[in-house]
């Protein structure tokens, strides 16, 4: 396999206050290959979003900190870059879109002004050049009347339109990596499909790799080449999306797959995983999933299992798998 575009190794992002330490991300490793889609799956509180914010260098101060690990991107460790150097990477080489298109655009600035800003900042375009490019970008994400949209305010657009405007903004500098943090969660189903199609198209045209963070397994199955499953701030399973969907090895992944409702089956209740994610301030000593695991044994509660490569390229953090 060629050199990965982004290599995260042993990333630990903690929130340290006087009273407690919250281990939001606790030793995560993954790689993003050039032009591929990596899906990161997990429940709320599993550390997916904090992983992406760590890559962007945007962990909320003053308590949040990357305490260990490396984020190697194009030969540099992003976690060691100065704020100023990091600002040249953000929006330019790596960009990000958010879950809530409603609030991610500045309500008092016109759409065009917000896209111009990225281009002027990173590409040093003049105002009129930036505006021309912004209109092109909006057309490329499927706005038929882009010349008018640039002069409109976010409140005049629908949720799906705003998410597309966000994507146009994120793609403005043709980044190597687009981090999409639950890009479709706030949209309704038909718009979800449109936005996903759009992201796929853009990926094929520009060769941008995508890190797709979601708790929607359907979206991952649809989009991702590789995937990792996160639980309690750790990777519990990683491999190609095909491998994991065909032969899920970790009991948590298994349980996730089983909780997807099947359309032809009549069932009284949806299958759910009992319990909740353990608090990141207070993880158990052994396997973090043991409490909710159907096949857990006494040893699971005592010793944290290592991530093992069971099949080539398919890793799992479970001693029983």
């Amino acid at each position: 396999m060629s050199e990965p575009l982004l290599k995260v190794s042993n990333l630990k992002t903690y929130f340290i206050s006087k009273y407690r330490t919250v281990k939001a991300v606790d030793g995560v490793d993954f790689e993003v290959q050039k032009g591929k889609v990596l899906g990161i799956v997990g429940e709320s509180g599993s550390g997916k979003s904090m992983t992406s914010l760590s890559i962007m260098g945007l962990i909320p101060p003053p308590y949040g900190k990357i305490v260990e690990g490396e984020i190697r991107f194009e030969g540099v460790d992003l976690s060691k870059l100065s704020e100023k150097k990091m600002n040249d990477v953000r929006g330019n080489r790596i960009s990000m879109i958010f879950q809530e298109p409603m609030s991610a655009l500045n309500p008092v600035l016109k759409i065009g002004e917000q896209i111009d800003e990225v281009l002027i900042r990173h590409k040093r375009l003049s105002k009129s050049e930036a505006r021309r490019k912004s209109i092109q970008l909006l057309q490329s994400v499927g706005f038929p009347r882009a010349e008018q949209i640039v002069n409109e305010y976010p409140h005049q657009l629908s949720g799906g339109m705003r998410q597309r405007a966000m994507i146009a903004m994120a793609m403005a500098c043709e980044p190597s990596i687009l981090i999409a943090d639950e890009p479709t969660t706030a949209l309704d189903v038909t718009i979800q499909a449109q936005v996903l199609d759009l992201m796929r198209d853009l990926k094929e045209h520009t060769g941008t790799a995508i890190v797709l963070i979601t708790h929607d397994l359907g979206v991952v199955a649809d989009m991702a080449d590789d995937m990792i499953v996160m639980y309690g701030g750790q990777v519990v399973e990683s491999g190609t999306a095909d491998d994991i969907f065909n032969t899920p090895l970790h009991p948590y992944t298994n349980a996730l797959m089983e909780s997807i409702p099947v359309i032809d089956e009549e069932r009284e209740r949806l299958t759910a995983i009992p319990g909740t994610v353990p608090s990141a301030a207070n993880f158990p000593q052994g396997c973090r999933f043991a409490e909710r695991c159907a096949i857990a044994q006494a040893s699971c509660h005592e010793k944290m299992p290592e991530l093992r490569e069971l099949q080539p390229g398919h890793l799992v953090r479970c001693d029983l798998a």
Partner: protein, 302 residues
């Protein structure tokens, strides 16, 4: 059925006409639909017009006494009478607004400018910067404001309206600074601010380009209430003899010269008009402030 369809089309048509109005424009439209606020605005504009062009309404100079007619009751010559020195009350009333309004507006803008800058920086950076800056605010909030006026005036021996503005400006900013700090703390966590960081915008750019315009509505409302407050403060200080010199006409100044029992009971024509002017000004500014607050409030219905 038909009418419903037509209604739907009308709705669409107006929606497309209403295209590309900035949130600020929309708020202003809401403002101008509020009768009380518009009334306040009209009264304030009238008052400002009078104080800007008092010579339209009187040919007397407020600083030239009519020695032949001191302590005169209202006559055709002096519609509001004259005071003990022979100054024309109407002329002093008309010219007097200048001092009060200048002090109120200038002091409000100055406190808001300082408060926004200070509170904005404090709230944006947060952490220990915020902690340190806010402790200084606590000290300033406990500062004996009236004593400072007294000390400054006796040291510098200048009693002028700009002195007042300066003193109010440098002592009254901590209140607004606290409010703005709270607002910035809140705005800092907004997705679009984090979004601006993800595109590599610098801190100052985020503050001035993304956060400040979003706090503008809040700041404007605050300014209007501050103005109302300082019309009052100037009158109160003049009343204590700490305002502008008596030779300069001001509403507060007129009031302070009419506080003796005799004038109060026998010459209402001397003190009632400036009182009414002060009350009208404060009321109209407050109505405008209320109107602005409602207009900018996203929860209020259009």
């Amino acid at each position: 059925m038909d009418s419903q369809v037509v209604q739907g089309q009308v709705g669409k048509a107006t929606a497309s006409v209403a295209k590309s109005k900035s949130p600020f424009r929309l708020s202003m439209e809401r403002f101008f639909h509020n009768p009380l606020a518009v009334a306040g605005l009209i009264i304030l504009v009238l008052i400002i017009f009078i104080t800007l062009f008092p010579q339209v309404f009187t040919h007397y100079n407020p600083s030239t006494p009519d020695i032949m007619n001191t302590d005169s009751p209202p006559t055709s010559l002096h519609p509001l009478g004259t005071d003990a020195s022979g100054y024309d009350n109407l002329a002093r009333l008309l010219y007097g607004g200048r001092v009060d309004l200048t002090v109120a507006f200038a002091a409000a803008f100055m406190t808001m400018f300082l408060g926004t800058l200070y509170g904005g920086i404090s709230g944006f950076f947060g952490g220990w910067v915020d902690n340190l800056m806010m402790r200084f605010v606590d000290v300033m909030l406990n500062f004996p404001f009236i004593i400072l006026v007294l000390v400054m005036e006796s040291i510098l021996n200048i009693a002028s309206e700009w002195m007042l503005v300066l003193i109010v400006g440098i002592t009254a900013w901590p209140g607004p600074a606290r409010l703005i700090r709270g607002l910035f703390l809140q705005l800092r966590e907004q997705d679009y601010v984090i979004g601006a960081r993800t595109i590599g915008a610098s801190r100052w750019r985020i503050m001035f380009r993304h956060m400040l315009p979003n706090s503008m509505s809040f700041i404007i409302v605050l300014v209007s209430f501050q103005v109302a407050g300082y019309v009052g403060i100037d009158a109160a200080l003049s009343y204590l003899g700490l305002g502008v010199p008596l030779s300069v006409p001001s509403w507060g100044g007129i009031l302070s010269t009419t506080t003796d029992y005799l004038t109060m009971t026998t010459e209402p024509y001397a003190w009632l008009p400036p009182t009414i002017m002060i009350v009208l000004t404060i009321l109209s500014v407050n109505f405008i402030g209320d109107g602005l607050r409602d207009a900018f409030d996203p929860q209020s219905q259009a």
